[in-house]
């Protein structure tokens, strides 16, 4: 379905890098007693993919709707290139968004859906067919959207976002419903669009997906900012190197490592989890103490675990374990 190797949308925008394109300041929004977004400030720069990360229900979609001028903030402002969304003169040619992929009349064809959007912003009609080809839906252009799979709907949503060749793109959970091939396609597409100098904000509740797609990160939980950083810094500052050590005499090994300054926890199976010493130092310490080692392997805390740690207590809806579609 996806046209692998198909050229991405070439930019017609000046690749003049603008340091900050989207700027949110003190955004707050409550729905009744629920504070969906709480004094949220962040910046999104052009030229890179910015991941907007948070558990389900953390306020990502609400924030995106406020960026788009769909929901009115209770407090705070958000601007795109210094302007409020409602002041954009040709909104679809400046900002493209995938908010809900299913938000299309089920009885309308894909091409008529895109045509209606194009006409609203004086976008040439041929752009409709070009976008259908780009997302691999040219074969079902006349088919009713109601007969589309979730993945096809998601592709049509991406085509809708790109119809005006906008310099700013907002994607709310774009890989939902996509198969692994589609996920790879979206990842490549987003990075290509960012490489053209566009500003890309992609929300996800999947940390590992963001680590593959994004450069910058805005992490929120319960509507509040947790971290505004780069993926690399986020990993470096939040992962603790742990080494798993296994010995026939774990008690003596633990004592020796403790003496060398490491923190040691013992697992139920007798293996030791060591932090504070790298694998080589652990080997040296074991050798010096005359303890045999049967296993010595570094363990990286996964990004998912880091993210879960950071946002624990900030998840509103428990009982939903995020499952990974990709490794």
């Amino acid at each position: 379905m996806p046209r692998r190797g198909a050229p991405l949308v070439p930019s017609t925008h000046a690749v003049e890098p603008v340091p900050t394109v989207i700027e949110a300041t003190g955004l707050s929004k409550a729905y009744g007693p629920t504070r969906a977004v709480d004094d949220l400030s962040f910046e999104v720069r052009s030229g890179v993919v910015t991941g907007f990360l948070g558990p389900n229900g953390s306020g990502k979609s609400t924030t995106m709707r406020m960026i788009m001028g769909l929901d009115r903030p209770d407090a705070g402002t958000v601007t795109i290139d210094g302007r409020r969304y409602r002041d954009l003169r040709w909104p679809l040619r400046e900002v493209g968004a995938l908010l809900e992929a299913t938000a299309i009349h089920p009885g309308r064809s894909a091409s008529n859906h895109l045509l209606g959007l194009a006409q609203s912003n004086d976008i040439p009609r041929r752009r409709v067919d070009e976008m259908l080809a780009l997302v691999g839906l040219e074969g079902v252009a006349r088919r009713k959207v109601g007969k589309f799979s979730l993945g096809m709907g998601q592709r049509l949503g991406i085509a809708s976002a790109l119809i005006g060749d906008p310099g700013v793109l907002l994607f709310d959970e774009p890989i939902n419903g996509l198969d692994p091939e589609g996920i790879l396609w979206v990842r490549t597409l987003l990075q290509g669009l960012a490489g053209e100098g566009r500003t890309i904000l992609v929300s996800s509740h999947l940390m590992s997906e963001m680590s593959l797609t994004a450069t910058d990160l805005v992490v929120i939980g319960r509507g509040r900012l947790i971290a505004e950083t780069t993926v690399d810094d986020f990993i470096a500052s939040n992962t603790v190197a742990t080494v798993l050590a296994r010995s026939p005499d774990p008690d003596r090994l633990a004592a020796a490592l403790g003496a060398a300054g490491a923190a040691v926890t013992r697992r139920a199976d007798g293996a030791l989890l060591v932090t504070g010493l790298d694998a080589a130092s652990i080997g040296d310490a074991a050798h010096a103490a005359g303890v045999a080692l049967h296993e010595l392997s570094p363990v990286q805390a996964s990004l998912e675990e880091v993210f879960m740690d950071l946002t624990s207590g900030m998840v509103d809806y428990h009982g939903h374990v995020p499952t990974e579609a990709v490794a």
Binding site: P10, R65, R89, L99, H105, G107, S109, L115, D122, R127
Partner: protein
Amino acid sequence: MTTLTVALPAVAPGRAGLRQQVRSEWTKLRSVRSTWICLVIIVVAGIGLSALVSNVEAGRWSTLGVADRAQFDPVRFSQTGEFISQFVVGVLGALIVTSEYATGSIRTTLAALPRRTTVLAAKGLVIGTVVLVVAEVTAFASFFVGQAVLTAHGARTLPAGSTIVDQVRSPTIPVDSITSPGALRAVVLCGVYLLLLSILAFGIGFILRHTAGAISAFVGVLLVLPLIVAVLPSSFSSSFEKYLPSNLGLAMIVVTTRKTDFAGVLLSPWAAAGMLALYAAVVVAVAVVLLDRRDA
């Protein structure tokens, strides 16, 4: 291959507005089947019921008493389909709004044009124009079909200046031409009645944002409200009845020049049209305010 050869957005002249949104709304309206089903029902019900009712009434003329002969209204018979079409245009008016709320595509629409009152105006213009054109074409076609059916039964146009007494005494079935007193006005206002009802439902759609709710409310105004007014003390009901939307429609469509039974019960045709337009305007004004204030 996917280059867009438009100028940079920042320097493109003008801005997205009513003209663009009207084209977009027309594309959206014509690209769903429900629109065409509704429009076909209006045409078929209009012309079909005109032929049917005119045929039945023509057969009854010789047996009618004085009172029934006085109420014999060839124009109104030809516009009987209006009773069905008033609900169909309500569905059309509501759906152009509520179908977008049902799917969430209203957010796509408002993202493409954040000036919400312009979006509302574009939708109203498109649905109003479509309903008015189809309703007027149907009203005129129904009129001529109805008169042709009467004529086939031997009906004759009464001489100019005929009174209600002349009609009652007429040995032949009366029939109207479009130049008969009140005929053109009644046919034109039948289309206007349907236009105003569609705009009323359209406004209700923006207020309630829910298809079933909006259509129920609209049907309630047309069918249930008269029942409620009817059970009120007659001192109340007799003064309110003429302001009911359904009775305003009747006032717009009957040819009163030869009538006696509606005198004083109904408003004059143009006053009725003005009153219904006022209702629609108030509902749309509320819709404009709510659309602007609410989160999409």
